[in-house]
């Protein structure tokens, strides 16, 4: 029973882990196209384009590097230029990131932790964010925060 559970857990972990990367990581680590990853940063101001129908394009930036993203579907209510975002999907051979889900985990005061870390690493962290994040309470979320 124990062995069965451990075997299940290990095989499932190997297949379903998704790593988080900042745009700089993506460029520096030369992540292979087709590998499922998450990319987080800010939606670059002025980069958001809604092309035909439901296809959207935007760039994710950490102030150092930028990754172009394409996504087909609904963006979260909280998605906005200049705000934190996490996209999950895979790189295409041409360097575009094709996302199949987009999370905007923020409100006007809070930023996703991974995004904050990525920005700090690139030296683009403004102290003000910290104060805002500290003063503001909840990490308000798109996926619906239920007060548990």
């Amino acid at each position: 029973m124990l062995a069965l559970s451990v075997a299940l857990v290990l095989s499932a972990l190997r297949e379903s882990i998704v790593f988080f990367n900042s745009p700089t990581d993506v460029v520096e680590k030369h992540i292979a196209p087709g590998t499922r990853i998450r990319v987080g940063g800010l939606v670059k101001s002025g980069s958001f384009v809604r092309s035909d129908k439901l296809l959207i394009r935007f760039n994710i930036t950490d102030g150092n590097q930028e990754i172009p993203v394409v996504y087909e579907g609904f963006v979260p209510d909280l998605f906005r230029e200049g705000q934190g975002v996490v996209a999950e999907g895979a790189l295409e051979p041409n360097g575009t990131f094709r996302a199949d889900s987009v999370l905007a985990k923020h409100d006007e005061r809070y930023m996703p932790r991974e995004v904050a870390d990525a920005l700090k690493k690139q030296g683009h962290w403004v102290d003000d964010y910290d104060k805002q994040a500290g003063a503001g309470r909840p990490a308000k979320s798109q996926q619906g925060e239920r007060a548990r």
Partner: protein, 660 residues
């Protein structure tokens, strides 16, 4: 002034909790019954003071007193009254106050309704309960004071997060906390029993109603949370394997295991050591859930707090109670005598099977939830473990468990007759086989798993009915005799069957929704029609209106089936000025147990809008099954209440029944 009353009441509750933490232990040591009685008074008084604190906070919200920081940050004077109420616990500080309110409520219940308990056990339970309470009062007063004032009060509040402005917030957190925190009682019972070093079948009988009550609330709380997520997020999903969801699922799995192992302990005086361990683990998982949600360690979409002091404080509480509980267990448990021998094929064996699989499933959820945190702490790598992991581990563990469910209640205690039970389940097998064949014929090809899963759902449901039919000799004896037997059947037997039936119902809903659900995303222009699963949706245009604290843009759709109009659906977008946020309000149309689901996306200048349409076949069964499970628990609980009045030998009431 009101806020100060609240804070002062909370300090008094802390003082009482400290007294109640120590006095009963001293009193039982010296066998001083008068001193022991103190614990009952303090438990009720504690509840009284926390109620005063909670009521003060509610008052601050209702009168929109923006000099109080949490009110300013989470409320708005224009908000409807119901949301002013619910925003009390729609934030970190308030929800912790709700947490201790429920904790002290359970303490008071033990003090008031625990008249049949041995006095020493009762006061020790209250003492342990008070340790937990004192730790959390301190946590609130030191790190999360909901009554803190602002020096220069603003005129208007920042409003409640629009996503939380929903009736779901009124129902879901209180139910969930009643479950979560309710398990504190079983923990206290376990620790008190370990302190006394005396655990017998009677202990299981006393602790079972509390476990059952907590389990019922948790079941309903999780189901309501799932439904809330389903209709509020606009993604059509009802379970995301989000860490915060897992945090509530883990105590549920462990609590379900505990519920079953306590039966063995009560009836057969066996599995004592294991039951005590489960009681400790279940509440530990509740505490871990609280830690995960409250400390902000999660990258979860739900995480509230960003203040590290809180995280460390809860971690200390967690380590103290989980570590302390397990250490006490390791020290005292070997002294407990095991009793009640049984063969592997028996009711006991079936319940152990249940426990093994439930705890294994719980462990996989635990790994999937905490592995990313551990990895990041150790290596700095950030990963996410999503639905594929849980589907690959949780599913294979639950299938054998579900197959075993109908067998368990039909097994005899001590030594069961597997071929005999299988024979009695022949009806269930037949229905399951028929369901598999029919599904296969209709769905054709496709995954073989789907017909099998439907067969399994029917097997579980018909198995539960078979259990009742066997007990009442339905179809074998004259109807009148069956009727008499049905009336003589204990409510817990009815409860068991009902809860197991609910499990099958939920499974059926999950399979249908997952495999036959349909989805379409499109841009529509006025007068354009979209079709999905035999339904036609004609977009008629957008209308704008003003709500109390938002502006709403709603899209009007006419829904037709076979050309006939069956109704209107109006999904909308609300924009809240105060927080510059918008939310999507989905439109739902219920057809039997199935639903049509519409959610709105962006609009373009040319009057066209993006829209998502879902057809969700039998989706309501998912939550309805959980409600049935909860009702099964309630039936069983109503039986126990009669019995706990005067503990009797377990089998005295079962004269009429074949084997309970």
């Amino acid at each position: 002034m009101i806020a100060e009353i609240g804070r002062f009441a909370l300090v008094l509750a802390l003082a009482l909790a400290l007294i109640q933490s120590i006095v009963p232990l001293v009193a039982t040591r010296y066998r001083d019954t008068v001193l022991m009685g103190v614990a009952e008074t303090t438990a009720v008084a504690q509840f009284g003071f926390v109620t005063i604190a909670f009521a003060s906070l509610i008052a601050c919200y209702v009168i929109s007193d923006f000099t109080v920081a949490t009110v300013f940050e989470n409320s708005h004077s224009a908000m409807p009254l119901i949301y002013k109420f619910t925003s009390v616990w729609g934030n970190h500080e308030g929800s912790m106050l709700l947490w201790v309110l429920i904790l002290s409520l359970f303490g008071a219940f033990v003090a008031i309704f625990g008249a049949n308990l041995p006095l020493t056990l009762k006061v020790n339970v209250l003492a342990v309960q008070s340790w937990i309470a004192a730790a959390f009062y301190l946590f609130i007063l030191i790190t999360s004071n909901p009554f803190a004032r602002i020096a220069e009060p603003p005129f208007e509040g920042r409003d409640l997060n629009p996503i939380l402005q929903d009736l779901g917030l009124a129902i879901h957190p209180p139910l969930l906390y009643l479950g979560y925190v309710g398990f504190s009682i079983t923990f206290s019972f376990a620790i008190a029993a370990l302190i006394e070093g005396k655990i017998d079948a009677a202990w299981a009988r006393w602790v079972r109603p509390w476990t059952l009550a907590a389990w019922m609330f948790l079941t309903l709380g999780i189901a309501m949370g799932s439904y809330w997520a389903y209709y509020t997020l606009g993604w059509g999903g009802w379970w995301f394997w989000d860490p915060v969801e897992n945090a509530s699922l883990m105590p549920w799995l462990a609590g379900t295991a505990l519920l079953h192992s306590a039966v063995v302990m009560e009836k057969r005086n066996a599995l004592k050591v294991w039951t005590i361990l489960l009681a400790i683990l279940t509440f530990s998982l509740s505490l871990i859930g609280t830690f995960l949600v409250r400390s902000g360690v999660l990258t979860s979409v739900h995480a509230f707090a960003t203040d590290p002091l809180r995280g460390v404080f809860i971690l200390v509480i967690l380590v103290a109670f989980v570590g302390g509980g397990l250490a006490l267990y390791a020290w005292r448990a070997p002294m407990l005598k095991q009793g009640g021998l049984f063969a592997p094929i028996s009711r006991e064996g079936a319940l152990i099977f249940n426990n093994l699989f439930l705890t294994a499933a719980c462990a996989t959820v635990f790994v999937g939830t905490l592995y990313p945190l551990a990895l990041e702490t150790l290596t700095g790598a950030k990963i996410s473990v999503g639905a594929p992991f849980f589907n690959a581990t949780f599913g294979p563990l639950f299938v054998p468990l579900l197959i075993a469910v109908p067998f368990g209640p039909l097994m005899a205690w001590k030594r069961g007759d597997l071929p005999g039970v299988a024979q009695r389940l022949s009806g269930a097998f037949a229905v399951a086989a028929a369901a598999i064949v029919v599904t296969f014929a209709i769905a054709g090809g496709g995954s073989i798993l789907v017909p099998f899963a439907i067969g399994l759902a029917f097997f579980v449901m018909v198995g539960a009915v078979t259990d009742l039919a066997e007990r009442t000799s339905l179809f074998r004896a004259p109807a009148a005799l069956s009727w008499i037997r049905a009336r003589g059947l204990s409510r817990s037997a009815w409860g068991t069957a009902l809860a197991h039936f609910g499990l099958g119902v939920t499974l059926l809903g999950i399979v249908f929704e997952t495999h036959w659900g349909a989805e379409q995303i499109a841009m529509v222009k006025p007068a354009q029609t979209l079709s999905l699963s035999g339904y036609d949706f004609t977009f008629r245009g957008l209308t704008q209106r003003d709500g109390p604290n938002y502006r709403e843009l709603s899209a009007n759709f006419v829904v037709r089936k076979d050309g006939a109009v069956i109704g209107m659906m109006n999904p909308s977008k609300r924009s809240f000025a105060t927080r510059e946020m918008s939310t999507s309000e989905t439109a739902l149309m219920t057809r039997g147990f199935s639903q049509l689901y519409l959610s709105l996306g962006d609009q373009k200048p040319d009057e066209s809008v993006a829209v998502r349409i879902y057809y969700k076949p039998l989706v309501l069964l998912i939550w309805l099954g959980a409600v049935v499970m909860m009702l099964g628990g309630a039936l069983s609980l109503s039986d126990r209440r009669l019995r706990i009045g005067a503990p009797r030998p377990a089998r005295s009431k079962t004269a009429l029944q074949p084997a309970e």
